[in-house]
């Protein structure tokens, strides 16, 4: 039987990603900026494009606005044309009241009409919040050659991390014979990357079986493994779930480290450059005459007069004379004034750091954030969108400075290690 090349892609982009803290206050996790010019979802979308797949549904739910404007018509990923397209699939009112997607499988089930309207032999289901480079075409070939009902992209991860993932036990033919969802005491180190190729009919039957099966990893896959042909598709390259601030920071730093295995440009990653504020309107980066630079990534539209070291700067960042930016990730249009210092911090869009202010002060990296000790515990400080850090102020380590805090709202001159500041001036 000749199989058509077409495979329908469903991209799950609804995740809250709450462990990314204030970076997901106004946007879904897939829309979080990454490596200066990109957003996390660009990696999945570009992999889809580079694999020659052209029919995509993006399932959104949580704060989809920023994501929707980023996707636009899908033109950036070549998804426009007669037989190509990207559709945004938000939750809709069903026959009963509870309308929000209850899980990954539930989200797909609620869009069965979309699957029926685009009948393909297989359906590729992906998550939109991982950083990786993968040829799905090869995976689909593998799926076909194994005559599998389901194939799952899987890779070996350190045993200490397996508790975050679905874990599979395979036989020597890569058939999955056992499954542990987020195991506390894992017996395997083979983790699911949340990439599934389903035979369409098999998927439709599996979803029809029981409406309480709302999650692939918890319900659909274990049942399929017990009863049918499920294969692991082994993956060996760079892959990161950037769901925590620490993992997000490390993956960004990997981009400026030689030999880390990640290179958006070589991977053919595309982004939407015409979204407001992105590179379409930006001139080349300008560098002044008293600049010191070390191992950094600098986007178009930046004006650098100071010192930038081990950092990633998105378009339009200004670093004035005498200012220092070190080990940090700076989003678009931030302004670091004269002799200010930003160290081991992530600054969301349009943050202004006043003269001689310090973000990331002192050497106490160990006092975790008081409100979210599991989010920030290695010293990284977060500053939310549009906040103005007043001149001369000091912000310590593991701090969270929320979005849109005006200078006047800052209570004292110092925010201590592990403290969080809110727009009404409250510190906790």
């Amino acid at each position: 039987m000749i199989r058509s090349k077409e495979v329908l892609v469903l991209l799950l982009a609804g995740g809250v990603g709450s462990r990314l803290n204030i970076l997901v206050q106004n946007r879904a996790k897939p829309a979080v900026p990454f490596a200066g010019l990109y957003r996390i979802i660009d990696f999945s979308l570009s992999n889809v494009m580079n694999s020659g797949l052209t029919k995509v549904g993006v399932l959104t739910q949580y704060k989809p606005l920023s994501l929707m404007s980023h996707l636009g018509t899908g033109e950036a990923w070549d998804f426009t044309g007669r037989s190509r397209g990207v559709k945004i699939l938000p939750p809709r009112t069903g026959s009963r009241d509870s309308d929000w997607y209850k899980g990954t499988a539930d989200a797909v089930r609620r869009n069965i009409d979309f699957i029926n309207a685009n009948p393909t032999d297989e359906v590729l289901i992906l998550s939109g919040d991982h950083i990786y480079h993968m040829d799905f075409d090869a995976m689909i070939e593998y799926h076909r050659s194994k005559k599998a009902d389901v194939s799952i992209g899987m890779m070996v991860v350190p045993k200490s991390e397996i508790h975050q993932f679905g874990a599979g036990i395979t036989d020597r033919y890569n058939r999955i014979i056992g499954w542990e969802e987020k195991p506390k005491d894992p017996t395997t180190n083979l983790a699911s990357m949340g990439i599934y190729v389903f035979d369409r009919k098999y998927l439709l039957n599996a979803l029809a079986r029981n409406n309480d099966d709302v999650d692939f990893g918890m319900h659909i896959l274990p049942w399929a493994i017990d009863n049918d042909n499920v294969f692991a598709y082994p993956f060996y390259g760079y892959w990161r779930d950037v769901g925590t601030v620490q993992a997000y920071w490390e993956a960004n730093m990997d981009v400026i480290r030689r030999d880390s295995g990640i290179s958006p440009q070589q991977w053919g990653i595309r982004t939407n450059v015409t979204t407001a504020g992105m590179s379409a309107d930006r001139a080349p980066a300008r560098f002044g005459s008293k600049v010191k630079l070390l191992n950094s990534m600098i986007s178009s539209g930046c004006k650098i007069m100071g010192h930038v070291e081990n950092s990633i700067l998105a378009p339009g960042v200004i670093v004035e004379e005498g200012a220092v930016v070190r080990n940090s990730i700076i989003f678009t249009d931030c302004h670091i004034s004269r002799r200010a210092t930003v160290d081991l911090s992530i600054l969301d869009k349009r943050v202004r750091v006043g003269e001689q202010a310090v973000v990331g002060a002192g050497k106490n990296f160990k006092t975790a954030n008081r409100l979210k000790p599991t989010h920030l515990y290695t010293g990284i400080t977060l500053v939310g969108k549009g906040t103005e850090v007043p001149a001369g102020h000091k912000i310590g380590r593991n701090c969270v400075i929320n979005s849109y805090i005006r200078e006047e709202a800052f209570p004292g001159k110092v925010i201590e290690d592990g403290e969080s500041l809110f727009p009404d001036g409250e510190i906790s």
Binding site: Q265, V273, A280, A283, P284, A285, F287
Partner: protein, 409 residues
């Protein structure tokens, strides 16, 4: 209508394969982007580009016109190449002939005013202000002028403008195209605003002549006919890049603390699809890098020294290499320990290890060295200042030492 067909001999190597309007400028864009962005920012969105000389690069660059928001029901960027017709047809014999041959196209749009401008200049102008002046004066033709040093004026169209409206403009009393002894400092920017009937009539009358240029033929004849011709005075920056030295100097005007050309403030847009520059990641600045007073676009990898220079997308500077006072176009690779001083380098070349171009560093040499595209410069080559290297030299054509001002072809 943008006149974008011309090839300028002085820019020689850079215009070997492209019209002057498609020559790269400003670290990521092309010369014509200044006119196109001015049009976009002035809200003029029915644009035709007259192109004749090696249009390929220009056609690629314009694309759908979407980069300048020129797509939509009433917005369009059309490229008008020469064509053959049932009664023969021919190449464009001059700027006026190019417009004449496309009068069908022009009349079909039923324009209220027709602007004709050159796509070869670097400037920021609000055309709407000039058009309002044109309307206020009920002029047949309004021409934009700028003041230059009189010694350099003989290369331009020169006019005496009366002071009817002071700094804004006035009626043109005399006009000379490239006069030997200019009698005024006001020179034409080649930005014209015509009343349609005036243009149609003048172009038709001109067809019986021997020469078909706006500056040389159309303007003098309209003046002779005592038409209402006004000069609109423009006092912003105007980059006129007819020689390679001028071209280099205009590039240097992009640098410094308060550059005379501020592309972001001017709202300059380019087509990021052209050469795929949208797909470049942010510039990577390595450990050994020293960067001073320079412009660097996405996709560059810098591991050496870059001073007073402009790097276009995809340029790589190897360890120990130093680039000063230079403009390096797209995707040039400068290998380890090269020294480049005052070089304009066209696209896609590799400079082998230890290549030296121009004199020792520190200090700006007198003459620019130009290197044409797609060259593989052998390791340790020495090229003295002012040399010209033709595009795409074969391996056997290279010399170990290219002398001062020598032309290697």
């Amino acid at each position: 209508m943008i006149l974008a067909g011309g090839r300028v001999d002085e820019l020689n190597v850079l215009t070997y394969y492209r019209p002057k309007s498609a020559v790269p400028f400003g670290g990521f864009c092309r010369v014509i982007d200044f006119s196109l962005s001015n049009l976009m920012n002035s809200g003029i969105e029915q644009v035709a580009i007259l192109s004749q000389y090696r249009s390929y690069s220009l056609i690629n660059h314009i694309g759908t016109g979407a980069a300048w928001d020129m797509t939509g029901r009433y917005r369009r960027a059309s490229i008008l190449p020469p064509f053959t017709a049932s009664e023969g047809g021919s190449w464009y014999r001059g700027s006026a002939d190019a417009v004449f041959k496309n009068l069908d196209f022009v009349k079909y749009q039923q324009p209220e005013d027709i602007m004709i401008l050159s796509g070869d200049h670097i400037y920021r102008m609000e055309y709407q202000d000039m058009i309002s002046y044109h309307h206020e004066k009920d002029a047949d033709l309004t021409i934009a002028f700028t003041k230059v040093d009189r010694n350099t004026a003989q290369r331009f169209g020169v006019a005496i403008i009366d002071d009817e409206d002071g700094n804004r403009g006035g009626r043109i009393q005399e006009y000379w195209e490239k006069p030997e002894k200019p009698e005024s400092d006001w020179v034409s920017l080649t930005v014209f605003c015509f009343k349609p009937e005036t243009l149609y009539r003048a172009l038709e009358e001109n067809q019986s002549g021997q020469s078909f240029e706006f500056g040389r033929d159309i303007i003098p004849s309209l003046i002779q006919q005592k038409c209402r011709i006004y000069g609109y005075k423009f006092c912003g920056y105007w980059g006129y890049t007819r020689t390679i030295e001028e071209y280099w100097r205009s590039n240097m005007d992009l640098l410094g603390e308060n550059p005379s050309i501020d592309m972001e403030a001017w709202g300059i847009r380019t087509n990021l699809e052209h050469r795929g520059i949208r797909d470049f990641q942010p510039a990577l600045i390595g450990d050994g890098a020293v960067v001073e007073n320079s412009m660097i676009y996405n996709g560059c990898i810098v591991e050496g020294t870059v001073k007073n220079s402009i790097l276009f997308p995809g340029v790589q500077i190897g360890r120990g290499a130093a680039v000063e006072n230079s403009v390096l176009f797209f995707d040039n690779v400068i290998k380890r320990n090269c020294r480049l001083n005052k070089v304009v380098a066209d696209v896609n070349s590799t400079y082998g290890e230890g290549t030296v171009i121009g004199p020792e560093l520190e200090g700006v040499p007198a003459k620019v060295t130009v290197v044409g595209w797609n060259n593989q410069v052998p390791n340790q080559t020495i090229i003295e200042e002012g040399a010209t290297i033709y595009p795409h030299l074969k391996n056997g054509q290279w010399l170990r030492h290219v002398k001062n001002g020598e032309v290697l072809r």
